[in-house]
């Protein structure tokens, strides 16, 4: 080639200069565990399904969601959403309304008739599930999907357990519950109602079951000895709420006192209000801060006119009144009695002091360990008797629908492994995507979308659902408030901010890769990644 005057070298590209040799630490892409996923007792991949919802693909979102939880429409109503408590967005403005998006997806699935994929593989194993509550249904779903033949034996007349016989209709309409149960049964799960098991081992042998998942729940209301008049009307919360499902509604009178401070106490007090009680008073021995009930429920109850006597215990129940003793908290936070008494007019007293488990079916099963009235299980949910697993309210844990669903899933996976003669090894969890890993500058300001609530008058007189749902536009908006903590959402920032073009864009859905020939290790991509999906690691020299 003839070169111009005074030019002796060929023109060259700087690509010959591999600036990657300058690097002392290198950026790497990673997925971090978002706090919502980490906080979900049912182990949902929340960030994962929100990502599909953000793109408007609700069916894909629902399918990812139901890989872990077959009851999204129920969960979107009754879950106390620890995911939202953990949500990083709360440190920016307000937590993402995960629960309301979940409900939207669940309702959308019912409306459009989405069904689970058909089961292709059969293992030939038979599993007995005892109890058709959230835990049992969840286990049945996951076991069926794993190819096992599942039979649920339910002592009650209908499926749902505490979702039907504990949670009032104004929180969970029964048609929603029925639709989600029906979809699980459509997988080929057999449900035998009114089938109480008396002796478990006999039932196992008779039905040729290879494994059992016990989830009988906690249906026996705890009693306490309260000196009472001969005609004092005292009920327990569980039986009261269960009778709400029957033909005849229970008679409570006009003035109702509820004893206890859990969510059940609130359910009873709010139900009493709807049955026409003019006064519905909760008596609780400690303060609002110490109350185990969830604050949102308490707030709704107070709005509806439920009254609460804090720091009070019931000393005597008379025919038309009860005597309450005032308490004070000592320095350790325990209530101590005072000499102050008060009389409340009351036509009936409902005890909501917690529930016990009916363990009679376990008689004669060797190796079981019962502690404080619940069955001890190993980390894999197996009891002391090989092949018998247990979960939900009958094992030591928090008693919520979500925890029950989580137990069902976990037990099902371990039962599956056990039936196949292996042990399930959980994949190690990703490191946490904490708020300090994010670059919040990049997120648009957007306050949370509030769900509509029913007007107060109807809340006090009917059993219509109190909290409404989102429609498509605001559900989409709410989903898009997700920060996608710790998981790349393809915002192109790393690709854009690299001064050395050392980030390769792989195309939609394929994310990015680093070109380490040229990456100088400046760390700009890490600093400017909104969601914390890149980290710097030292080079090995």
């Amino acid at each position: 080639m003839r070169k111009p005057f005074a030019i002796t070298l060929d023109p060259g590209s700087s690509l010959a200069n591999h600036t990657g040799t300058w690097r002392t630490s290198r950026p790497v892409y990673l997925d971090r565990l978002p706090p919502c996923n980490a906080g979900c007792p049912a182990g949902e991949n929340i960030q994962g399904w929100l990502a599909h919802a953000e793109a408007g693909d609700y069916e894909a979102a629902w399918r990812v969601l139901t890989l872990d939880n077959p009851l999204p429409a129920v969960m979107g109503r009754v879950c106390y959403h620890p995911c939202e408590t953990a949500c990083n967005r709360a440190q920016l403005d307000e937590a993402v309304g995960i629960n309301s998006v979940e409900r939207f997806l669940g309702d959308e699935a019912i409306r459009r008739g989405w069904r689970f994929d058909a089961i292709t593989e059969r293992s030939g194993k038979r599993v007995l599930v005892v109890g058709a509550g959230p835990s049992g249904l969840s286990a049945a779903f996951h076991l069926a999907r794993a190819g096992h033949e599942v039979e649920i034996h339910e002592a009650g007349p209908l499926a749902g357990g505490m979702m039907r016989f504990g949670i009032p209709k104004y929180r969970l309409p029964r048609d929603v519950l029925d639709a989600e149960v029906a979809r699980i049964l459509a997988l080929g799960v057999t449900l035998r109602l009114n089938t109480k098991i008396d002796r478990l081992l006999d039932a196992m042998k008779a039905g040729h079951f290879d494994a059992v998942f016990l989830a009988v729940g906690a249906h026996i209301g705890k009693r306490t000895t309260i000196p009472a008049g001969a005609s004092a009307r005292i009920l327990d919360a569980v039986s009261f709420l269960r009778s709400m499902e029957g033909e005849d509604r229970p008679m409570l009178g006009r003035r109702v006192v509820v004893y206890g401070g859990g969510n059940t106490a609130l359910d009873v007090a709010r139900t009493a209000k709807r049955l026409g009680a003019t006064e519905s008073i909760i008596v609780y021995r400690r303060t609002r801060e110490k109350m185990p009930a969830h604050d949102s429920e308490l707030e709704e109850a107070l709005q509806e006119g439920v009254l609460v006597k804090w720091l009070s215990t019931i000393r005597h129940a008379g025919d038309s009144s009860i005597t309450v003793q005032k308490m004070v908290l000592d320095e350790k936070g325990f209530p101590q009695p005072t000499e102050e008494y008060e009389t409340l007019e009351a036509d009936s007293l409902v005890l909501a002091l917690g529930q016990d488990v009916d363990l009679s079916l376990l008689e004669g099963v060797p190796g079981l360990e019962i502690i404080d009235g619940v069955v001890k299980v190993a980390p894999n949910m197996m009891t002391g008797y090989p092949g018998i697993f247990a979960g939900g309210d009958m094992v030591p844990s928090e008693r919520t629908v979500t925890v029950g669903v989580g137990h069902g899933k976990k037990a099902a996976r371990n039962i599956d492994a056990w039936l196949r003669g292996t042990t399930r090894v959980d994949t190690p969890k990703h490191e946490a995507a904490t708020f300090d890993k994010l670059n919040p500058w990049y997120y648009s300001d957007a306050p949370k979308t509030m769900r509509p609530t029913l007007d107060l008058l109807r809340r006090q007189s009917t059993f219509e659902e109190v909290v409404g749902g989102l429609d498509e536009t605001n559900a989409l908006f709410e989903a898009r408030r997700c920060l996608s903590c710790g998981n790349c959402f393809e915002c192109d920032n790393c690709y854009g901010v690299c001064p050395d073009n050392a980030v390769i864009k792989l195309g939609p859905g394929k994310r990015f890769a680093f070109n380490y020939d040229y990456c100088k290790g400046c760390g700009l991509c890490v600093a400017e990644c909104p969601c914390g999906a890149i980290k710097m690691v030292p080079e090995e020299i």
Binding site: R480, D492, N493, P499, D500, L524, P530
Partner: protein, 333 residues
């Protein structure tokens, strides 16, 4: 319930792209087929703001002109790190002549294209703050005054970085450089000196003057595109951070540029025919201290105890900018 627009894309246009945005709303930099005008292998320091700003601006200009673009480059970091003979990182027709004559070279190219009747080929001149505000200033003013059809882009990193961080007329007050050391009664660059070239450019009444930072990519690309739609002399002043000369970690280059804007120290605006027509508002106003602290060139302002009087004067300068350009909406604070 209050009306809520659905058009909310998680990060809006704060990020470079976003899978939820329609492609035409994404930045040029999000495109898999962007020009990469300044390609890999250049010898700029880690986290160089100027290398980033130059690729942002020239890629946007290439996109706006269907790749019919010639650039003249002044001497400076950008020239030295990109083109050590016989290698070059530039993937566009590019020429370097002298330190002070980039505007004149570009004027000549524009004149030649006019003679050849090539109205489709556009010309850019570019340089650092030294080549623009000091050494090349005469040529630049002449280019403005004759309204030559050139877009001049100044990448302002506030000192002569290539030769070892000496003060330029764009160095801010109190900043330490090799020639304004942090010693004596008034450490760092002297208050009341220096010049603000965007205002001088506006005083020439040229059709388009704008400022931008590497922290606001969509705004920067918009301004380049806008400038390429206009004929005549145009000036774009881009704020680019320098990890080496300013003494901040390389990963903070964009953050520092963002803070310069959010404090009000670097106003981001555009002006048509010498009149400001729009400003980029401050999103989250912060005191100047947040901008000064991460930079070692201002470290003497905080040692051994904060020099409140000096910091106060810098804050007053930021406040004056905010008033003068209306950088904060009335009632938003």
């Amino acid at each position: 319930m209050a009306y809520q627009p659905v058009k909310f894309y998680q990060t809006g246009t704060f990020t470079v792209g976003n899978r939820l945005l329609p492609p035409e709303v994404r930045a040029v930099q999000a495109n898999m087929r962007r020009t990469n005008s300044l390609n890999s292998g250049h010898r700029a320091c880690q986290g160089c703001g100027e290398a980033l700003g130059a690729r942002y601006a020239i890629d946007a200009a290439m996109n706006a002109t269907s790749n019919q673009l010639i650039a003249a480059n002044a001497t400076g970091c950008l020239e030295v790190f990109s083109t050590p003979y016989p290698e070059t990182s530039w993937q566009i027709p590019w020429i370097h002549s002298l330190f002070g004559n980039a505007a004149a070279v570009a004027t000549g190219i524009a004149a030649a294209l006019k003679v050849k009747g090539r109205r489709d080929v556009r010309v850019i001149a570019q340089g650092g703050d030294g080549g623009t505000t000091d050494i090349g200033f005469g040529c630049l003013s002449g280019m403005f005054e004759r309204n030559d059809d050139v877009l001049y882009i100044c990448y302002d990193n506030e000192a002569y970085m290539n030769t070892g961080v000496q003060r330029s007329s764009a160095t801010p007050f109190a900043a330490r450089t090799a020639t304004t050391e942090a010693t004596g009664p008034d450490p760092g660059a002297t208050f009341g000196q220096g010049k603000y070239v965007p205002a001088i450019a506006m005083a020439h009444n040229i059709p388009y003057v704008a400022t931008a930072t590497i922290a606001e990519l969509h705004d920067l690309e918009y301004k380049v595109e806008r400038a390429m739609q206009i004929r005549g002399a145009r000036y774009l002043h881009v704020f680019v951070s320098c990890p080496l000369g300013w003494g901040h970690p390389s990963e903070d280059s964009i953050r520092v540029a963002r803070l310069a804007k959010e404090t009000g120290l670097f106003p981001v605006f555009e002006a048509i025919d010498g009149e400001v027509v729009s400003v980029s508002k401050i999103r989250r106003r912060v005191p100047v201290e947040e901008y000064l602290r991460p930079q070692r060139r201002f470290a003497h302002l905080f040692q051994p105890t904060p020099h409140l009087e000096v910091i106060g004067r810098i804050q007053a300068h930021a406040d004056r900018n905010i008033r003068k350009y209306g950088l904060v909406d009335a009632g938003s604070e």
